[in-house]
């Protein structure tokens, strides 16, 4: 059976679920960091500008894999150096899921920062002023005025980043997380059919990216309702 994959179908599917989990959680982190970074970049404080600028420049200059290994292995050493100072003596193993999600979120936060910054700048300031003049608070202006309008400008870049993010999740297999690439590697090792399994994984990635593309297209139409398209 094609879907059974020599008995490894369910295992690969479990890996797919993990891949999706990593994607969604790291997307959330990336969005939060992206918003924060964009706010920092647009703020009047020079220090915050410099912080955000350093963050985006450095992250975008280093390969994801190197950062992931740095956070996974380096974080391990750091935690075990710090923990004894707080009276915690046993050895702590860093969870590869958390390391993976944090790393990917951290990396894509930098890309999201640029996307969101551009999108916020694209909303005309008059809109925000109008909101304030109605007596709305900062939060209300953000959720009612800025966010709905900036999403339209952010979506193309956001979608692109998300598709790259999904593909980057394949890297977590290198730090020992049981995502579908690693499951495929295990299955390939015992059945000696590496092409079959890696191809299956490739097809699943294609399905995920294509579905995301459809959802992003739908979102794009939703947020562009108020705009005339020629």
């Amino acid at each position: 059976m094609l879907l059974n994959l020599h008995g490894y179908g369910p295992s690969i599917l479990a890996g797919t679920v993990l891949t999706l989990k990593v994607s969604v959680f790291s997307l959330l982190i990336a969005m939060m960091l992206g918003f924060t970074g964009a706010m920092f970049k647009l703020s009047k404080s020079r220090i915050l500008n410099v912080v955000a600028q350093t963050y985006t420049t450095i992250i975008r200059g280093i390969p994801d894999l190197v950062l992931m290994l740095l956070i996974f292995f380096g974080g391990q050493v750091m935690i075990n150096q710090i923990a004894p100072k707080f009276g915690y003596d046993s050895y702590i193993d860093i969870n590869p899921f958390i390391a993976g999600v944090l790393t990917i979120g951290f990396i894509f936060g930098a890309y999201m920062t640029e996307t969101f910054r551009g999108a916020i700048l694209a909303v005309s300031p008059g809109q925000l002023e109008a909101g304030y003049s109605f007596g709305m608070g900062k939060m209300k202006v953000f959720f009612r005025i800025l966010f709905p309008q900036m999403m339209r400008h952010a979506l193309p870049g956001f979608g692109n980043n998300f598709l790259v993010l999904i593909k980057s999740t394949a890297l977590v297999s290198i730090i020992g997380l049981d995502d579908m690439v690693r499951k495929a590697a295990i299955a390939a090792g015992s059945t000696r059919l590496p092409f079959t399994f890696y191809f299956a994984v490739a097809v699943i990635y294609l399905v995920i990216t294509s579905c995301s593309g459809v959802v992003l297209g739908w979102l794009d139409r939703k947020y562009s309702v108020g705009v005339l398209k020629g």
Partner: protein, 231 residues
Amino acid sequence: MNFSIISDNLGIYFQGLNNTIQLVSISLVIGLVIAVPLSVIRCSKNYFFSTPVRAYIYFFRGTPLLVQMFLIYYGLGQFELLKSTFLWNYLKEAYFCALLAFALNTAAYTTEILRGGIEGTPYGEIEAAKSVGMSRIKMMIRIVLPSAFRRTLPAYSNEVIFMLHGSSLASVITIIDITGAARIVNSRYYTPYEAFLTAAVFYLVLTFIIVFLFKKLEYRWYAHLRRDHNV
């Protein structure tokens, strides 16, 4: 932090640097050579020609580079028929497989970038080329492609940086590139910070150099858009 380990092992890092630069530059050149004709075919209105190119781009842009590399390095060994041909001499080498995966991957992205450039050619330029009696091929070579190259330069510089970053995956299949060097140092001395931070610095410097070179190139290629030129 103990950076004397790094200074003792700088040799490995420079060997890694050498491998990284080789892998990236060779695959970029091959990728570009494949991408130029493919992008012209991709823009063709004949579905018989453009569909296979579309499928190729769809596959390579929709799947992770890591999986593509595994498919080539581990996957192709599944076919006994392939093993009996001379191709196997190359395909059993990790270096060649990484190069092949990178080249095919960057070719797919570059094709899509160039397609954007070709489709963005102002129609007046094409009409002008036709009106002086150029053939389709001549028009492509003299008018469409040069202006497409110019328009796609910023996007292509991003692709080059992505390729540099992607090349770190070669370390997963035993190649000693910069990341591979860092992994060796880390496993030998268990010094993750020092090992990977050094690798990060190498990549940062390479990224800055690439950005700088493309700025230079943009300055030249966009000379007609400069406001301060003294003519």
